[in-house]
């Protein structure tokens, strides 16, 4: 115990000085909180293992890399095997925490209630902590059309194969003044099971109303051409004129695909970090206390809120059996939730947590023991 304290203290001192140095050379010292309160950026020695959602892989690696810069003695591993595997490994006690595209399920599925099983492993309730928000872009390839707006009904009919050409009157009706070509629409979907598909179909179901008859699922229920992973669908759209898909923002940006504005009824909303933040802020929290599971309102008509997104969680024990693990988890997650890291995520295609949510997240992380 004594050793641990000493280690923490040394770590803090080291980080403090590094963070100060960082502030000195950086101009945007608007949030100098990193150097302030204890427990803000604490270093640990050793290894922290997490596993799960591939949707947050890049964000996680970014956070791990910056953390490692400040704490050279700490290794944070993330194995992006998918949300399901991550949760399974967490329940089996193989990893320190899990990353997941959806909060732990409270209903029985395949004989397991995830929430209960995780609590049993932890010996305390497991918490879902929202950490990374990944907007899903409806990406298209239409040379000459830079500005495309879609309403949920129109999007649903496109992705269901009911609207087959880009100059369909239904698309034209929501895109006044845009010259639409007569190109055939080619829908690309994820052939592997994916949280992106699940969230996108949730959106179509919630906002598209009668136009979308399928239930939300990880496997694509409607029509189109299936491609492997996000890289596959974005490549498909990029090489096919008239192609359209749903894909994480970063892939749409990297491949220079057109990104449709979404009009849920409150006006066309462009996909930016800010508009996504607004939607996250509007999400209702339905967990108890520090269990921050969010229910997104996909049909939100709030002006300026981009409604298609997935929130990925870190799933942690509220009380770790091993105090050292708790310290590690806290130290790293605090860093990941910090404004510096969150703002940096926008560059790689994620949206930062809005400040009100970030506050709750920080409170929850502090309460881990």
């Amino acid at each position: 115990m004594k050793n641990l304290r000493f280690g923490q203290f040394a770590g803090l001192a080291l980080v403090g000085s590094l963070a100060l140095a960082g502030c000195g050379s950086d101009d945007n010292s608007g949030s100098g909180g990193a150097t302030g309160g204890a427990g803000d950026v604490a270093c640990f020695e050793g290894t922290l293992n997490a596993e799960g959602s591939s949707a947050q892989k890049n964000a996680f690696e970014e956070a791990a890399a910056t953390y490692n810069e400040m704490c050279p003695g700490a290794t944070v591993n993330y194995n992006p095997t998918g949300s399901g595997t991550g949760i399974k490994q967490f329940i089996a006690g193989q990893v320190d925490f899990a990353g997941s595209d959806s909060a732990l399920k409270t209903e029985e599925k395949d004989g397991i209630v995830e929430t209960d099983a995780a609590a049993e492993t932890c010996g305390s309730p497991a918490w879902n902590i929202p950490m990374v928000t990944g907007p899903i872009a409806i990406s298209y390839n239409l040379p000459g059309v830079d500005d495309l707006t879609l309403t949920p009904d129109v999007a649903a009919e496109i992705f269901d194969g009911k609207i087959t050409t880009w100059n369909d009157p239904k698309i034209a009706a929501v895109n006044a003044g845009v010259e639409l070509p007569a190109t055939d629409i080619k829908v690309f979907f994820r052939s592997d099971e994916s949280g992106t598909t699940e969230n996108f179909t949730k959106y179509l179901k919630a906002a598209g109303g009668d136009a979308w008859s399928y239930d939300p699922a990880k496997a694509w229920p409607a029509s189109g051409e299936g491609k492997e992973k996000s890289s596959g669908v974005s490549e498909g759209v990029k090489s096919t004129e008239g192609g359209v898909t749903y894909v994480e923002w970063s892939y749409a940006k990297d491949n220079d695909l057109g990104i449709a504005k979404i009009d849920n009824g409150g006006g066309a909303v462009e996909l930016t970090g800010e508009t996504v933040g607004k939607a996250v802020e509007a999400a209702a929290s339905d967990g108890e206390g520090n269990d921050l599971r969010l229910t997104l309102d996909y049909a939100t008509q709030e002006a300026g809120a981009y409604p298609i997104l997935l929130v990925t969680y870190e799933i942690v024990c509220s009380q770790y059996a091993d105090a050292e693990t708790a310290t590690k988890v806290k130290a790293f997650l605090t860093h990941m939730a910090s404004p510096e890291v969150q703002q940096g995520l926008e560059e790689i295609g994620y949206a930062p947590l809005p400040s009100s949510v970030e506050e709750k997240v920080t409170t929850a992380i502090d309460a881990i023991s």
Binding site: F189, S191, D192
Partner: protein, 329 residues
């Protein structure tokens, strides 16, 4: 290069030790190692089969669809429904296309190298073909997707224009580079070195007496190849084709990258210009989300079918080769 004993029927008993040297240490070690290796590989394959069966059976028992004849694939949940019809079709058609292209081409290349090419050319040509086998399959996949694929669209349109009235050649609107036909072509390139290398070996072993005999009887070079080289090499070519087929059936990454999968509600089509899945590509797609034993079992059941099919293909090849042997020479 006189490995004739592999093909010739030798009436004598095979050579055996006379037990005079069995007591020596070196003999015992070498003999032991060889025997262990032989047993090990048999045990290993058996264990793989048993493992697949073990994992697959519980899921198969819960399956509510016809495993062999259903096109559905929803292996999770309380009422799993999954069948392999679509996978079997995708696997079969891509492999057949690959064979149709690769076997004649491979045989022709092997004949060129062994019968036509001058010695200074045959060695480098052989090594170049072998080099094809050294390219990782994922590279073929990306090459097909990003470079070769764009040139297939006109080919597809041409065939569709001329023969589109045949269901097999009907354009389904799938991007050309993501069709079963194009995946089969890439597979053909991948199995070409296997077919070529083995065919080359057997063609090189054709006894000079056979060839000279044919030529002395007034045969042209083509006739000599037809009456002397090809009949002699037939079992070798068959086994080359079967080995290639084995690889084509199981190829995963290139197919996974290239093929567009069909949506759940797509109509059944026999067109080779359609998307689809093979056993291996479907398993690779699902591998990220094997979250329950039941779901894993469904994929493993598909793997089991592939295992059995490959086994049958290889066994058939063995039988064919053994029967053909009797007629040579």
């Amino acid at each position: 290069m006189t490995g004739r004993s592999t093909v010739d029927e030798d009436p004598r008993h095979p050579l055996g030790g006379d037990r005079a040297s069995t007591g020596r240490l070196g003999d015992r070690i070498f003999g032991g190692l060889a025997t262990t290796s032989g047993i090990l590989i048999v045990v290993l394959v058996t264990l793989v089969g048993v493992f697949l069966l073990w994992q697959a059976v519980p899921s198969l028992l819960k399956n509510e669809a016809n495993f062999l004849l259903s096109r559905e694939w929803s292996p999770s949940g309380a009422n799993p429904r999954f069948g392999i019809l679509e996978l079997a079709w995708g696997t079969l058609i891509t492999s057949v296309i690959a064979m149709i292209i690769a076997v004649p081409l491979g045989v022709a290349v092997a004949l060129f190298i062994t019968q036509y090419a001058p010695p200074w050319l045959s060695k480098p040509a052989a090594s170049t073909i072998d080099l094809l086998a050294a390219v990782p399959s994922i590279v073929y996949g990306f090459w097909g997707l990003n470079i070769a694929g764009q040139y297939f669209q006109p080919v597809l349109s041409g065939i569709d224009g001329a023969l589109g009235w045949l269901p097999v050649f009907e354009d389904q609107g799938t991007s050309a580079k993501s069709t079963l036909a194009f995946a089969g072509m890439i597979l053909a390139i991948m199995i070409l070195p296997i077919v070529t290398a083995i065919s080359r070996e057997v063609f090189a072993q054709v006894p000079t007496t056979h060839k000279e005999g044919a030529l002395a009887l007034g045969a042209t070079r083509w006739e000599m190849i037809r009456v002397a080289v090809l009949p002699y090499g037939k079992p070798g070519v068959i086994s080359a084709a079967m080995l290639g087929l084995g690889r084509a059936l199981g190829e995963t990454l290139a197919v996974l990258i290239l093929l567009s999968t069909l949506s759940a509600n797509a109509d059944w089509s026999f067109s080779i210009f359609n998307g689809g899945s093979t056993f291996a590509s479907r398993i690779a797609q699902g591998a990220g989300e094997f979250d329950t034993p039941q779901k894993t079992g469904a994929y493993i059941a598909a793997g089991l079918v592939l295992f059995v099919v490959t086994f049958v293909v290889n066994a058939t090849a063995r039988i064919v080769i053994d029967r053909r042997k009797a007629f040579t020479e």
